[in-house]
Each structure stands twice: as structure tokens, then as C-alpha cells.
Subunit: 214 residues, 4 copies
DNA sequence: TATGAATGAGGATTCATTCAT
DNA sequence: CATGAATGAATCCTCATTCAT
């Protein structure tokens, strides 16, 4: 199953064009998986939505499971890259001079926005993660390890500058991620009465600043 | 996690309305739904595990969906009741005198412990909540509305006493729940290197205190 | 897959009645496998011929492969038992006194007749034997070992009496079986111009007698 | 068994009408049909093995069935020619002078050797012959009629010389073919404990001689 | 000549559910 | 109350074949 994804990634990276039908299939399956969940979506559903014969799906992706990987993995890793402020990370001077507070203010709104947009894909990821042993390995290991490591570097840096409490990196990161994730999720579920306003985010940042102050 | 199953078993066994076979079915389905997920569990699986004819399931519960409700709803509401510090809530004097910090310290460890034990059931709830339109109505409305309202009262009370920032109740509650949930989930997944220690929880409480301080 | 057959054999042996539908399925599948071959027969074909829902087949037999075993193995082993002159074998006195020539004359016509009747089942057996690795083990080992051993005893006995050439048992047995099998097969295929007459069989017996005379 | 494939390859390669791809297809299909059987081999299998696009197969052979004919028929007829001692048949003087015993001794070992080598191809033939109505006509009529007629001539000749019993040609031929076929088959299946020795074949010839002696 | 994308009917098998006993 | 035989629609997947390039 690595092979299909490898092959798929190569195709994409080499700009070898996926056939139009393959793209239709990927789009349709992504949409349906997000709407109804992976296991509630039949390959026939997908073939109908993509206006394609059912056989075509298997010709290209081999199995429904492979199709899941092919459709969500590229997006998930793209999404992860977007969520990590890579440009800032590489700019050591910037990180040395900026305050934790300003850093959050510059970085978080954009991340929250992006996270909200990809939330449906992460929902698919989550659902499969929860119960599918086989998928857990593929998805978990493949995706988030790198991301976490990069974020820990930032935490360490602000700790060294004395702007963050001296707790373990994992804990601090967990507090930040929990808080942001909680916000994004509640937003997307329409739990908050007010549509996301600047004050919401302002509160969130204040909460993190104060909560993690030494 | 054993505890809640234990408790459930007792409840079920003491309920004279339920025949022994019905009890077996409820126990088996709860276990299997928790292990494999609702849609990955067939009624045949359940009948095997409960040592019961497949027909018997439908005789008593009518449909697989009904069986889901019958097995998880009682537990979910029980779990919710456990999570809400009802006895404290009713004790107005106590709430007036205790500091927010002490309140968290007295209340959170127990809640975290309980939440961790019930996590598997909440996992079932979550999965179905995410995709099953029909179930969403049944489960959502039925379950957590009450709980949230009760918790908001506590938040309001501490806000009035000047121990919490003057942000909307929902926001404050969200910060608290996100943080606690994040902790419980990461614990149960074995993400934290250290097994849950008192310092972990101490940090968590400090984080909330400081973060929500006026 | 052993289990299904074991279970099936027990049912049959205990005269626990197979349900009427199960019998219909067995009869229909036997017929169709014989007519069209195993892999050219779909489970839908069988369900139609047996006037049964397709699910019923799998309810009882689990898989198409199991159905093959369940339908042909009992017949094959019965057929083998019929082919071996068991009653004569147990009668040592008879075997000591009878000549090889008379023995063939008394035994062969009946065997040839029986073999011809079961030829279609043996055709199924043969086809699967030729290409299906998995089936080879099940069918080969399960079926003919015993039979061969019993027949060798007879050969040994006539050799000791000086009525058969002193060649290895396997060789002598092979000559006999090849000759008889060749006759039965050519009969059933209508290759022989004359329908099977007594002279045919008489020639066959003369051929064996003379060919194997010391 | 390698030899016939070798021979086939040479034939195919020397045939200028066939493109290299067609040659690859024929070789690959022959190999796969022999190994797995015709109906267990998919055109995709063949295209993979021949390193050819699936479409190419149909471009040249039109259907899978045609491919079967194209691949095995030339070999079968070649094999038949090899099995019939054509050079001896044409040499009437030789046949008049040689004894049946010597004839067998000169002819059989070579035939047995050849038959063993081609057995896999005959296995394909047999399997299809058993169940495929459509193929039966194509294969049966096309192939063995000539062969049988030629062999009958030899039988007739030896009968006239008084070296064979006066039974119908078909019967005598059947005894011979059954015996030889039985030997070849049991050899190729590894049933015989001793690898094929000269004494085996010697016994076989003695058996035929004595059995068919007037 | 050769490709390989696309097809859709057909394959075995699983599933939740019904019903007579 | 409990059974388990029976159902048939739905599921994932395979197959031989077609066709535009």
C-alpha cells in the first residue's frame, strides 16, 4: 500500500498529470468521505459522484483503502505544512527578537483560519484513526511526527528566552494545541453564538500568554 | 475503563425488566462497539459474543441502531453526571467561600480520572456524532445540554466573585474543557512520556488559573 | 475449512437432518459443478437452481469452496468404499481359494459399473486437483490413501499365491487401475462404437490376466 | 518439459509473421495456462508477464479464447506428431519384419519420454476439454482424429501378422494408451517411489506383450 | 503496431432484518 | 422468551473487452 501512495506522490510531484477521471475520483471521494465518512461511502457512491465506472476506481487505486490514502494524505501533509510557521522558524533573528505575545498574534489567526478550512479532512483522519488498526500505522506515523518536532523547537526557544514557564515541551505544546483545536472545532460546529470575531482570538491569545507565563 | 463497564453490568443486572439474554446483548455490544466501532461491528458479532441467536437481538431492540442507543445512552448520561460536581453545585455556601484555585484542585483530579475511564464510550459517541445525521439528533440533544448549563452556572459564579476574567461563559468553559480534554486524550493515547503524575495535573491547574485570571 | 466439513459430516452421520434448503443446495451445486465445472458455476447459478437466496448458501456453507467440499467429499468417499471389494477383503478364506482370474470376473463388472456412475463427480475432483493448490491437499490426502493401501493387500496376496508376476505392488496396481480407468472413461465418452458389452469386459479381464501372469 | 517450451520459443521466434510482442504474449500465456490453468489466468496476468499492454493482446488475438488456441494448438499438434512414430509407419518393410515386442521396445521409451515432457500442455487441453463445450469442438476434432487413425493402422498390421489378439482395434489401442498414459501420469506426479528406471518400462512392455498376445 | 484509460457486467461474500416454530 | 433458517440488497473487487490516441 505504500507503493500506491508512492506512485501517486511521484505522479503528482513529477507533474505527470493524473487523468481527468482520476482527479474526478479523488475529488468526489474526498467530498463523500468528508460528508458521510469513509465506511458509509460505497465505491458505487463515488463512481456515481465522479461520473465514472466503478471499475475505473479500482483500475487506478486498487482498493477503497488506497483511495482513502490517495485522497487525504496529500491534503493532510499539505495542511500540516501550512499549519507550521516554517518561514518564521527559519528566520532565527526574528524568533530571537519577537515576544511570545507578538509571535502568537502574528501567527495564530492565520493558522486558525487554515485549520478551520481543512477541518473536514482532519475529521476523516480522526475517524479512521480511532478504529482502524491498519490505517493507524499508515496515517499516524506518516503524518504528524515531523510537525510536532518542529513546534517543539519553537517552544524550547521561547523557554530559553524566559518567556514561557519551565514545563516540559510536550505539556506546553499540548496546552497550546488543545486550546487552539478546541476553538477551531467549536467554531466549525457552530457552537459559538458569535461568528468568529477578533475578540475571540484575542481572548485565546491572552489565555495562552497568561497561562504559560513564567 | 473497567470501572464503567463494571458499573454498567451492575446496573443492568439489577434491572429486573431486562432478561438475562438482554443483559448479555447489552454488555457484548457495548464492548464490541468500544473496541471496533459501531459500523465495524455486525449484529452477528454481537450475537456470537453474547451467545445469543441473532434474532433475539432484533426481538428485543428492533434494530442495530436502537441497540446502540440502549447500550451507550445510559452510560453516557451516567458518565456526565459523574463529571459534573453536582454535590458541590448544590452547596452554594461552599462555592461562595472556596477560591477558584482550590475549587479546581478539589474537583479536577477526580473528573480527569473518571473521564479517562469512560473515554472508550465517549469515543463511540464521538464517531457516530461526526457522521450519522440521524444519530446526531438523538445523541446530542439528549445528552450534553443539561451538563453545559450546569457548568456555566459555576463559571458565572466565579466571575461574579472576581476570580475569573470577564469573558463570555462559553469561552471560559471552552478553554477549561479543551485543556482538560486534551490532557485526558493524550494520556489515554500514551502520548505523554511520563505516566500521569501529580505534577502534570498541577501544571494543568496552574495553566487554567493563570490563563483565566482577571 | 476443516471445521465445516467435520461439522457437516457429523450432521450427516448423526442423521441430524440437513434442512431441506441445504439439501437442495447440495444437490444443485453437485449437478452444476458436474455439468459446467466448479469455476464456471457461480453461487448465483446455484441459488437459482436450488430456489434459494444467495445468502442462504453462505449462511450454511460459509464459502463456495466449502460448498464444493461439502457436496463432493461425502460422495467421493462413498464412491471409494463402493469401489473397494471390502466384503471380499475381509473374507480371507475366499481370497485364498479363488483364482485371480475368477476374482477379477466376480469383482470387476460391478466396480466398472459403479465407477461409470460416479464418473462425473470424479471429473470435478480431477479438475480441481489439477490446478488448485489449496484443494489438492484437502482432497487428495483426505480421499484415496486408504483405498490404495487396501488394494495393495490384495495384490500382495495373489503374488504370494504365485498368480501374479513378481513386480512391485505399485506397478501392478497401476496397470490394473490404468486399464480399468481407461475403459470406464472411454465408455462414458462414447468413444467405443459398441455400447458396453460383456465381451468388452471379458477382453479387459483376459488382458489383465495374461499381462500380469508370472 | 523445458524442451517443448524451448522448441515452441524457437518456432515462434523464427516465424516472421509474428511481431516480438506477439511472441512474448504467446510464450507468457502458454506458461501461465500451464501453471495455473486457463480460467485461473487473467489477461492482466498475461500482459504483466509478457510486459505488454493489455490492449495489445486483444489487438492481436481478439479474445482470450483465441489466445488459448493460438498458444496451445501448434504445440499440441507438434506433440502429437512427435508421439506417432511416423518414420516407422512409412517404412512398410520395417513393420513387416519387426516383432511386436521389438517394435514396442524401440518405440515406447522415446514416446514416454516425449509425453512426459508435454504433459503440462496436455493438462491444459484436458481441463478445457472436460467442461468447455465450445472448446471441445475446436480442440477435439482439430487434434487427435488423425493420430488415432494412424495408430490403428499399426495395430491392424500386427494383428494380420498374428502377433496381436483378434480384438477390435479400438480396444487394443485403448489398452496400450491407457497403460502408457497411466505410467506417464503417475511418473509426473511423483507417485512412483523409484524414479523412472528402465525396469519400469521393461515391465510395462512385458505387460502389453503378454496381455495382447493371441 | 501498441498503448493504457475506461468500461460495466458479474464475482463471492456480508449484512441487517424477518418470521415460523 | 428465544431461536436460527432464510432473505436479498449492498459491498468491494475482478474480468475480458473496447477505443481514442
Amino acid at each position: 500500500m505504500d507503493s500506491i501512495f508512492e506512485l501517486f506522490r511521484q505522479k503528482v510531484e513529477n507533474n505527470e498529470k493524473l487523468t481527468p477521471k482520476m482527479q474526478d475520483i479523488l475529488e468526489a471521494s474526498l467530498l463523500l468521505f468528508a460528508e458521510q465518512g469513509y465506511s458509509n461511502t460505497s465505491t458505487k457512491d463515488i463512481s456515481r459522484a465522479a461520473q465514472v465506472a466503478e471499475g475505473t476506481i479500482f483500475k487506478h487505486f486498487g482498493s477503497k483503502e488506497n483511495l482513502l490514502y490517495a485522497s487525504i494524505l496529500p491534503i493532510l501533509s499539505q495542511s500540516l505544512e501550512d499549519l507550521i510557521p516554517a518561514n518564521l522558524l527559519s528566520n532565527k533573528d526574528y524568533l530571537q527578537t519577537v515576544s511570545f505575545s507578538d509571535f502568537l498574534r502574528q501567527v495564530l489567526p492565520e493558522r486558525i483560519n487554515l485549520a478551520g478550512k481543512n477541518l473536514k479532512i482532519w475529521k476523516i483522519y480522526l475517524t479512521e484513526y480511532l478504529y482502524q488498526e491498519s490505517m493507524r500505522d499508515n496515517l499516524v506515523t506518516l503524518v504528524p511526527k515531523v510537525a510536532v518536532d518542529e513546534l517543539k523547537q519553537i517552544v524550547t526557544l521561547f523557554k530559553e528566552k524566559g518567556e514561557l514557564v519551565d514545563w516540559p515541551d510536550e505539556e506546553i505544546l499540548r496546552f497550546i494545541i488543545s486550546t487552539v483545536a478546541g476553538y477551531v472545532i467549536s467554531q466549525s460546529m457552530g457552537f459559538s453564538s458569535s461568528s468568529q470575531s477578533d475578540t475571540d482570538i484575542d481572548h485565546l491569545i491572552q489565555f495562552l500568554e497568561k497561562g504559560l507565563h513564567p
